[in-house]
Symmetry: C2
Subunit: 463 residues, 2 copies
């Protein structure tokens, strides 16, 4: 009957089904313009539905301009509605299947099995049952103020950082902070400076935007500021507490040099402090921000201390950047969701965060020891660990070896996911003898077995 | 004693206090380079703390490169550490104080007092107590798959939209979707087309990026596609279900014309469906997406149906755009937080969303009636309401009147927040006789009093 096939067990109402069917036939040209539609009475009888249902369907067609005149014998198809349906392909090609990953040395993964989920769930419940009413609508790009205050207190306790809570802006993780900062700090024809090697996150944003980029050489003490060539700078991005991926701590002398450079050239330092909580010998490294907060934008995240899917981080902004940030965030995604901000406030206020970090520092320190002793036991003097004893990853130097894609792919075939340092470099002329191992999320057994598996591939490939 | 003032009731440990104090004095030059520090024994005695505490402080200074040699009599300040402290101003100027807002006709505000908070809190609790383990780390830019499936089902039930769940991507609200789409769809030297007037969200992103922009005229039927001048198009942005701010429904003929234009010029239509759930006479308007999904990117949000601080929306992407979107989102903020996605899945699955929307449609419909009758009662024939009976705002035409900033500011002084349509226009030559009133969040009394208050200002100003 007029191409309409009614499904009686559908959640889509009958009127809407009639409407959809007619619309489709008008658009494809099966009902050409000017065509007279059946009267509501006739169609109702033919389909075995009430006349009201048909009237409702015709009303929808009329409101949206598919037919002229609303009801009865004289309803006609409106003009100019025939469209050629576009190509309806769906991109659903997925990457080809690999062997399963058995030993995953991916970096930046915390151990989620030891997070106090029950406690967190309780804090979420508390937050959900008393969400502050004025925070349920749009509350703007700054973030939940009590959370900013708790973060300020926590930074003071853990890193001697003295921060005005009003300078702290909540973000959806560090990635968002870096994304927004690139747009805010860019100056026409000036360049961003990155460490070589460095994390691809900020690099990709800068390249996607087409902004100029230059590199600082990096050694086992972190970035070498003196290798900056061009002084027309938009910003300098550094990971001073634990260089990613090499692991060095930037010494005070280089920090001071960096600050002088930023002052002289009127640019900002982006300090990405992604995992300095986890330092296994001695106290957490104090950030550059504590040395000069007028030229430093500090980026922090709870992805490693809490869990990645929380999507909460923060940025500490000099006064001059705050207006630009608020504008940018307003048109990026307005603000963070409120619920988890409230729960995190309680998690910090009750010092559960301090406790959790203390515990995880022991756990990760232990894992690191296991990793180092496995490496030493398996590879002996062939390998030298790099960097400071902190964070959730380790870079290993194999003097005399050059690692390439083929080796990584051999590892992958053997069920090992591992990265080379060269993947993070701007050019393939340095650090070619280094591998990068994330271990935070692995069990002791996985670490030991993984290193033995790595040795087997390495032996076959290089010996 | 060496400028160190210890606070014993502080949560910052004594060693960290000593470290901070020395660091500060080194950076400001009070301890110049080469200066010999007191021995650990001497300082411990002087400060009345254990020698271990001082050793720990010296260790931190040594690790970070502030002093040379670790302990004892020969510790010296390292070279090149003196920096001139930057300007430490904090931008804390806030906008000047106004009278309090008594009647707030702001647009886009749902009535949060009627949201089923208890039920939602229960669903949050359920979600928090059984968060899916594989979703706690980084799970990528697509979003929680069961949520995409529930959204597909809901779109079918409520709008006859047939959508592949795999084409749905979860976003942090519609703002994020528009932000990302502008970058993805931009073609060099091609322009974006916006409705005139339109919401400033996407316009600001396009202008901030410096991309070319052109305008379509808009009347009481929505955008007039025939007014597009230049056919080199990056994308066309429309609000066809309820034009913002004028309120028209785009008729099928114009929709078909729009699709033909997009096909012919190989560009995309961005369909922003921000509040079509709330239609008070007849069924929700079916989106353009249902007519041709190969050239339409559909943007949806839960900010109005749920609450703004939830920060969950979605976008339906043609296959060709999915890879670009995933790349963009990966480097924007990776993904949404997981918890509320899980709870929202349950809210949709249990049909609580359908129920809530049904209820709110009645509530908002009632408020709209009150608003219209208040306006009619107070202004009589001086005013003509515009647009379709749907959404959370209404535009009112005052034939013969030209509204400007001064009138808005007079209203503000009288405690009324209200907008003109002209604020949303590209040029000040059309729609100058219209005001824009959001009413979703107001009580009946607030609406009635607000209209009376508006009349008093209007009378004084224009009569």
């Amino acid at each position: 009957m007029w191409g309409v096939k009614l499904r009686y067990n559908s959640e889509v109402g009958l009127a809407r089904q009639i409407y959809s069917s007619f619309k489709q036939q008008i658009l494809t040209g099966r009902f050409p313009e000017g065509e007279v539609l059946p009267s509501t009475r006739e169609l109702a009888k033919g389909l075995g539905v009430s006349r009201n249902t048909v009237c409702e369907a015709y009303d929808m067609l009329w409101t949206e301009g598919f037919i002229i005149s609303r009801q009865g014998a004289s309803s006609r198809v409106a003009e100019g509605l025939h469209i050629t349906p576009g190509n309806t392909e769906h991109k659903k090609e997925r990457k080809k299947e690999h062997n399963p990953i058995v030993w995953d040395f991916k970096t930046g993964q915390p151990d989620l099995s030891l997070f106090p989920w029950k406690l967190w769930s309780k804090m979420i419940n508390n937050a959900a049952s008393c969400l502050p009413a004025q925070q349920l609508g749009y509350s703007g790009p700054r973030g939940y103020e009590p959370l900013c205050e708790e973060i300020a207190g926590w930074l003071l306790r853990s890193r001697s950082m003295e921060v005005q809570p009003g300078d702290i802006y909540i973000t959806s993780g560090a990635t968002q902070a870096l994304h927004l900062l690139v747009d805010i700090l860019n100056k026409d024809k000036f360049s961003f400076v990155l460490e070589n090697p460095s994390h691809p996150g900020i690099r990709t944003v800068i390249e996607d935007r087409g902004y100029p980029l230059q590199w600082m050489a990096t050694d086992n003490q972190g970035a070498d500021v003196s290798t900056i060539q061009d002084n027309k700078l938009s910003a300098i991005y550094v990971t001073p507490s634990h260089q990613f991926p090499l692991g060095g701590i930037l010494p005070a002398g280089r920090r001071a040099e960096l600050i002088r450079l930023a002052c002289d050239n009127n640019c900002y330092i982006i300090e990405d402090d992604y995992d300095s909580e986890f330092r296994y010998s001695g106290s957490p490294i104090s950030p550059i921000y504590s040395m000069d907060f007028s030229h430093v934008v500090y980026v922090g995240t709870f992805s490693k201390t809490m869990f990645p899917a929380l999507r909460i981080g923060f940025v500490i902004l000099p006064g001059k950047l705050q207006e630009k940030w608020e504008h940018g965030r307003n048109y990026l995604d307005v603000q963070n969701s409120i619920l988890e901000q409230v729960a995190l406030t309680e998690f910090l206020h009750s010092r559960k965060m301090d406790k959790h970090i203390q515990r995880m520092r022991r756990v990760y320190g232990e894992k690191r020891k296991i990793l180092l002793s496995s490496v030493e036991h398996t590879f002996g003097s062939l390998v030298k660990p790099w960097g400071d004893a902190s964070g959730l990853h380790l870079s290993l130097q194999f003097p005399g070896i050059t690692f390439g894609r083929e080796f990584i792919s051999e590892c992958r075939n053997a069920g090992i996911r591992i990265a080379t340092v060269i993947q993070y470099c701007s050019t393939a002329d340095k650090h070619m003898d280094k591998l990068l191992l994330g271990y935070g999320h692995l069990t002791h057994v996985q670490i030991e077995e993984g290193i033995r598996a790595l040795y087997r591939v390495w032996e076959e490939y290089y010996c």
